[in-house]
Amino acid sequence: MNAWRLVVAQLLRKPLQTTLAVVLLALGIATLVFVVLIQGQLSRQMTRDAQGIDLVVGAKGSPLQLVLSAVYHVDVPTGNVALAAVDQLRANRLVAQVIPVSLGDNFRGFRIVGTEPALIENYGGRLAAGALWTAPMQAVLGAEVALTTGLSIASTFAGTHGLTEGGATHEESMYSVVGILTPTGTVLDRLVITDKSSVWRVHEGQPADADERAILLADREVTALLVRYASPLAAAIVPRQVNAENRLMAASPASELARLFAVVGVGINTMRVFAAVLIASSLLALFVTLYSALEERRYDIAVMRLLGASRGRIAGLMLFEAWLLALAAIILGLLIGLGAVAVVATRLAQARAFSVTAHVTPDLLWIGIVALMTSTIAALLPAWRAGRMDVAQTLAKG
């Protein structure tokens, strides 16, 4: 006989009530786990993906769309930018770096990005195998791309037109894989990176003569420019300079991100409130379970006192009972929450968008501690009443 066996036996006497209290608390905890994990990972990842990018320059349109398309690669671009804009920005003394980005095709949903090696450097990408491209139509694969598609060095593949799967395939222009990157935990993992001229070549075809070549050259464009400032002062000046241009728009990832989270935050807060309501009602259920148990078990409690259990011991057993319920709920809630995150992670991976993983983080420890503390509070009054019960009076009645 020990406290463990005793409390479990008491809980199993009312399996329905016990289960209800556990499941309610578990659902509340699961919701909280889900919100904390998804929100934490998404915001961390979005911040990481925007590292080293102070400004995105693209065609006029929605600034949020520009950032989502050029930095996070989850939206369609707003339009194109003349190649001349690259040189113009590079000449600006307030600008430290300009990385051109050309979009248009994908391979099995992974975007093919025509750019310069600086993009890989920006995310700290290192080659796991092979080398960087030296000529057009050579591609370097992000870690996740290589893993998902199974392509390896010297494999060839054709891009599909458009940014999502299902477009026309550019069968006539095959890419060959020359390098594979190590995982960086950024958007880079989900990109096929190539020289910016590859994208032009795929879409221009072979020019018929020198005149046509000249026309094509003059028309060359990129989708967007990722700009890093040379000094903090640039933040006040460069966007204005860019926006003054007829066809150009400047968008700051940091402020667009803040706007996005302000909108999404409403939804997240709603879920948090929902979780709080669930937890509060589950604690009420816990309280009712324990309190009604007092009445049902008053002879049990009296007999335990008769057998030498002190008031504190009785109260302690009741608290232990609440902790055991909370512990069961925490474990169940954690499993449900992690399961839900895993489902979302799979969906996101299929959509080639953000990568989230279902894993235990220190934030979750806090959820556990809060659940234990609140269940203690719910058990305090029943425990106190159990300890205060008058043994002689109870036994005399029955």
Binding site: M1, N2, R5, L6, A9, Q10, L12, R13, Y299, D300, A302, V303, M304, R305, L306, L307, G308, A309, S310, R311, R313, V391, A392, L395, A396, G398
Partner: protein, 210 residues
């Protein structure tokens, strides 16, 4: 040896118990007789240490139970075994676990519970829940629970009230046997005239004057 001196108990202004002094030797098993309302259960609870009397003193083997001392729950439970009238076995525990519960709360981790149940003829019912046991079997489990810690005083409240003649006689013999096994002094509160003859010593309680 049990000594009871000038014990009275009142709830508010209502006097419910006034006992004439008595003294019992170790083997002087005793029946507390009296009509219902005479305070038999109240006196039993006083002797069990779970009800502090309004006045008076109780001493068990030269250790003072009342007044002036604050004995721990463990202290009294290891010296006094009680068989409540309704037995009150914990329904969620097996017969063996019910007996072990008494050991658990006073920190007695010997394996006497099993032996005791076997001696009481409950070998086969050891792991059964109380609801699966007969009245007589349940009573034996309650007896085992009361004596598992080898108390000096064994108290039983109306142990025969719901039994027929044959079973009542058997229950009383069992109580004597249990007291003998542990060397405890047996005090039985009863209004059952059938068993009074069995006790050499009887203490009569009269309804307290109100």
């Amino acid at each position: 040896m049990l000594t009871v001196r000038a014990v009275t108990h009142s709830y508010g202004n209502r006097l419910v118990l006034a006992v004439a002094d008595f003294e019992l030797a170790r083997d002087e098993h005793c029946a507390l007789m009296g009509s219902s309302g005479a305070g038999k259960t109240t006196l039993l609870h006083v002797l069990a240490g779970i009800l502090r009397p309004t006045a008076g003193s109780v001493t068990l083997d030269d250790e003072v139970l009342y007044p002036l001392v604050e004995r721990s729950d463990r202290w009294r439970a290891s010296r006094v075994g009680v068989i409540p009238q309704m037995l009150h076995l914990l329904p969620s525990l097996s017969a063996l676990e019910n007996v072990r519960l008494a050991q658990y709360f006073i920190g007695n981790d010997s394996d006497t519970a099993r032996t005791l149940l076997r001696d009481l003829g409950l070998q086969a019912q050891m792991h059964a829940r109380p609801e699966r046991l007969s009245v007589g079997e349940r009573q034996r489990v309650a007896i085992a629970r009361a004596i598992v810690n080898k108390p000096r005083l064994l108290l039983a409240d109306e142990p025969t009230s719901s039994l027929d003649d044959a079973n009542a006689a058997r229950a009383v013999e069992l109580l004597f046997e249990a007291a003998h096994m542990t060397g405890a002094l047996l005090v039985v509160a009863t209004h059952d005239a059938r068993i009074r003859e069995r006790f050499a010593r009887q203490v009569h309680l009269n309804r307290a004057p109100s």
